[in-house]
């Protein structure tokens, strides 16, 4: 069984990853670790407008002046990775490919009888 922290730790092991955010399909923040960005944390209301982008979008990769932000749909909702502009994005995408299905497993366990044993 995987827990969210373990999965996200794998992502943080990739050089250049600064923050991770998981937003559920119902637009609530499931997980966030933005400490390296020196941000207090995001609220659901902060996300309302940006999440409109994901009505039709499956994957977004945005290069900004200071950060690169990679967002992809996953079974749980949306997985956001904030990284340095020169981070190895290919490796981060690969790591997301690995952890996204595991997030699905976690979701299934929570909904079924498995939640009693978590």
């Amino acid at each position: 069984m995987y827990n969210m922290k373990m999965l996200i730790d794998d992502l943080f092991n990739v050089k250049g990853v600064l923050g991770v955010l998981v937003v559920s399909s119902d637009r609530s923040v499931v997980f966030q670790d933005l400490a390296r960005l020196k941000l207090d944390g995001l609220k659901e209301t902060d996300l309302e407008m940006p999440l409109l982008l994901f009505d039709r979008v499956e994957e977004a990769d945005l290069l900004f002046e200071y950060y690169r932000i990679y967002i992809r749909k996953c079974p749980l909702g949306l997985l956001w990775v904030i990284m340095q502009p020169d981070a190895s994005a290919a490796m981060i995408r690969l790591q997301c490919d690995i952890i996204a299905p595991k997030m699905k497993q976690q979701k299934q366990i929570k909904r079924g009888i498995g939640r009693l044993f978590m």
Binding site: D46, E59, A60, I71, A89
Partner: protein, 369 residues
């Protein structure tokens, strides 16, 4: 990121300490006990004994004296650079032996410690070398073949340590600027070692962002050839432990390609800015085709006012993290259309298929921006 030296990253590391002075070994055994959560220690009295231990144990760091019977420290260093180039060696010397230090450094020693030293001095030196083993990160759940292809495409210079959880065996592969240079798996070296390493399953991969300088290329063929050979051997079931052959070679799509940074072009003067904006789609097309050639999944480049909404929302995302100015973006929609965009009025939009080398187009778009 510094490695958390724990079981999850490949078990407790082993450090081999070699000295013919039994008293010193005994005191180190006691003193270094406080580092048992980070590493355990093995001991040998001379170089010959050390090589025997290295044959059967997975060792991360060697600490050796120079003056020893049977095989001295320099002879051991020479053997280690050819047999175990991945294992860093700390040499213990008496103060004032500059010439010896010079010789040892020339032979491949990475650090020195002058006798007498405190336990913490040597403990810290060992810890710092152990942390270097994974200064490029630790990755799990990915096949070794996939990662090697990534290292090749990214033109990485690195040492990759592949650790198999089930057997506790470790293999090491060296890349210099994306070129497969050498490898070690137990007593195997070169291409044979790579093939063995590719057969490992359930692995941790630790990435060190450097490669020993003294290393000479020992693999004469390209990575693809080695991957194919490994696959062929697996198919023929030559290796003892083949659990999941289809995991070994997985082709990365072209979109995962990455190139090195290119120098930024000087920004346009104000007078030319408007003119350049008009010509931007043509320039984007020209630059992409020049750098990637035709047939890289590029289907259309255009100016498009319809992207303003997308750009606005992307800017909102950046605002959440104080990310600064939006340079360019890639969007893949649910109907499987994929587009790059460079924000502007109008934005420049590059339609591509999903196999395009995304990161290379990013670099080009960033320059054009």
């Amino acid at each position: 990121m510094p490695e958390k030296l724990s079981v999850q990253n490949g078990g407790i590391k082993q450090v081999l300490i070699i000295d013919n002075n039994q008293e010193l070994l005994e005191s180190l055994k006691v003193g270094l006990g406080k580092y048992r959560a980070q590493f355990s220690t093995l001991y040998a009295n001379d170089g010959k004994q050390a090589l025997e231990i290295l044959k059967r144990e997975s060792v991360s760091v060697v600490v050796s004296d120079v003056r020893m019977p049977k095989m001295n420290g320099l002879a051991l260093l020479s053997s280690m650079t050819s047999l175990y180039p991945d294992i860093p060696v700390i040499i213990m010397t008496a103060y004032g032996q500059d010439e010896l230090e010079w010789l040892a450094r020339k032979s491949g020693a990475v650090a020195f410690i002058g006798k007498p030293f405190s336990v913490d001095e040597i403990g810290n030196k060992i810890l710092s070398l152990l942390q270097k083993e994974s200064d490029g990160g630790v990755i799990k759940g990915i096949s070794v073949g996939v990662f090697m292809q990534l290292a090749e495409m990214e033109e990485m210079t690195c040492t990759i340590r592949v650790y198999n959880e089930a057997t506790a065996m470790q293999g090491v592969v060296f890349f210099k600027q994306g070129k497969l240079f050498d490898a070690r798996y137990g007593t195997y070296g070169g291409e044979k070692a790579v093939v063995k390493i590719l057969s490992l399953e359930r692995t941790h991969i630790r990435i060190q962002n450097s490669c020993p300088g003294f290393l000479q290329p020992k693999i004469g063929v390209g990575l693809q050839a080695v991957l194919l050979e490994a696959m062929r051997l697996k198919d023929e079931a030559i290796f003892d432990k083949v659990e999941n052959p289809e995991n070994t070679v997985v082709k990365l799509s072209k979109r995962d390609e990455i190139t090195t940074d290119s120098p930024k072009q000087p920004s346009a003067s104000k007078e030319n800015a408007a003119n350049q904006k008009k010509q931007r789609p043509a320039k984007v097309l020209h630059d992409i085709q020049r750098e990637l050639g035709k047939g890289f999944g590029l289907s259309q480049v255009d100016s498009d006012h319809g992207w303003e909404h997308t750009v606005t929302l992307a800017l909102k995302i950046g605002d959440l993290f104080n990310a600064g100015r939006l340079k360019c973006g890639y969007i893949q929609t649910s109907d499987n259309s994929s587009n790059f965009f460079i924000p502007g009025s109008p934005s420049t939009v590059v339609s591509v298929d999903q196999t395009c080398p995304r990161d290379r187009i990013f670099r080009i778009a960033e320059r054009i921006d």
